[in-house]
């Protein structure tokens, strides 16, 4: 993996974790405590469908991604790893 890709992915994961904790109002959890491979929904982090709304909004507003491209992409929402990979591959205006 080229080093700049690894750096980009690491930066995206860090930003994602910070946004999840802030926008989903996750109590008693710090961004650095979320594992990259932790399952987001159900088991693991325990997010629900209304949290998914906020994640979609994050992907739209913070990363400039289109919601229509996320249809039937269950795999994207599995973990921070899968979200970051999707953002990296589809990013348009990562801040």
């Amino acid at each position: 993996m080229p080093s700049n890709e690894a750096q980009d992915l690491a930066r995206i994961k860090k930003t994602l974790k910070e946004l999840l904790v802030a926008d989903l109002s996750l109590e008693d959890i710090k961004p650095e405590e979320i594992r990259d491979d932790e399952v987001l929904f159900g088991e693991g982090l325990g997010l629900d469908s209304l949290d998914a709304v906020e994640i979609v909004v994050i992907l739209q507003r913070k990363f400039g991604l289109e919601v229509k491209d996320l249809e039937n992409r269950k795999d994207v929402f599995y973990s921070i790893d899968t979200l970051a990979k999707y953002i990296y591959e589809n990013k348009k205006n990562i801040s």
């Binding site: 802030a22 926008d23 989903l24 109002s25 929904f41 629900d48 469908s49 209304l50 998914a52 709304v53 906020e54 979609v56 909004v57 739209q60 289109e66 919601v67 229509k68 996320l70 249809e71 992409r73 269950k74 929402f77």
Partner: protein, 303 residues
């Protein structure tokens, strides 16, 4: 999300009977049959009567036992008429006059924003007639509902018919269909969500008909995140051949603090409950609430 399983009523023979009488005798003849069929349900279907009582007892507090049973009977007949009317429309036997209240407002909302609208509806009136009324907006309407499992109901009422302008998003989809809902709103479409039953979703406590009831807040949470309006969608039968469809109640849910999002949504859920309370005051036998939304099992979902 908790799965809710309910008994399905109606079979092919029953629907054939009503279809045939509708073709031969028209609406009034088919309505006449209802008085016998509903009497059967009133006497023998304890589950249906019991399920209706939670609403009837609160709506008609001054009624004694006999009058409450009569109210349940009227509620059954009213829902039967709604089903017959639905078949009447989808089978092309005729149309109803529809008065659409709030059309200019909803048209203005769609014109001024690229976003769609969440139509927050309830188990009231007749959604088939409502969909007919909304056709003039020229927008695709997505219904968040489970695919009809009762084949007799599905075939007779033309549900899941593949209508290009009315599409179904199943709550059984990944994340409860949230991605499809957000996509539809983004495309400027209308998304219809039932707001008067939780179906296992997280709820907010509201004052309703003199008691504390529990309504889901998901429609408001989605609208706040997607920055789109919520329009309460109601319909009511006002005469044998006329319906009123009301889209005049518009809300713009937003939250100032993400940490207190649920608390901030409660005000909007209460406003919706007040609209339904007013509706039940005007059309007491057209809120087909066959579920105890005041019951403790709904409260559990509120936590």
């Amino acid at each position: 999300m908790k799965q809710v399983t309910e008994r399905k009523r109606g079979n092919r023979l029953g629907f054939w009977f009503f279809r045939t009488s509708l073709k031969w005798t028209g609406l009034s003849g088919a309505y006449g049959l209802l008085y016998f069929v509903c009497l059967y349900y009133l006497i023998f279907d304890r589950t249906a009567v019991s399920a209706s009582m939670a609403y009837i007892q609160r709506r008609f507090r001054a009624f004694n036992g006999i009058r409450k049973y009569l109210a349940v009977y009227r509620l059954f007949i009213s829902q039967g008429k709604s089903l017959i009317d639905r078949y009447y429309v989808v089978s092309g036997l005729g149309q109803f006059d529809i008065e659409l209240r709030g059309y200019d407002r909803i048209k203005g909302l769609l014109r001024d924003s690229k976003k769609g609208i969440i139509l927050l509806t309830a188990h009231v009136g007749n959604w088939q007639v409502t969909m007919t009324a909304l056709e003039k907006l020229g927008k695709t309407v997505y219904l968040l509902m489970s695919p009809e499992e009762n084949a007799a109901v599905k075939n007779s009422l033309n549900i899941d018919s593949g209508n290009e302008k009315v599409k179904i998003i199943s709550p059984d989809n990944f994340l409860g269909g949230i991605i499809e809902i957000m996509k539809a709103i983004d495309e400027g479409s209308l998304v219809s969500i039932m707001g008067d039953r939780s179906y296992g979703h997280s709820t907010s406590e509201v004052a309703l008909l003199g008691d504390r009831a529990y309504f889901p807040h998901s429609a408001f949470s989605i609208a706040a995140a997607a920055r789109c309006p919520v329009v309460v969608l109601l319909s009511a039968k006002v005469s044998t051949r006329k319906y009123v469809v009301d889209v005049s109640h518009v809300m713009e849910p937003r939250y100032r603090s993400r940490a207190k999002k649920k608390e901030e949504m409660e005000g909007f859920v209460q406003a919706y409950a007040r609209v339904l309370e007013d509706y039940s005051a005007e059309y007491p036998y057209q809120w087909f609430m066959f579920h105890d939304i005041w019951g403790p099992e709904n409260k559990a979902a509120a936590n």
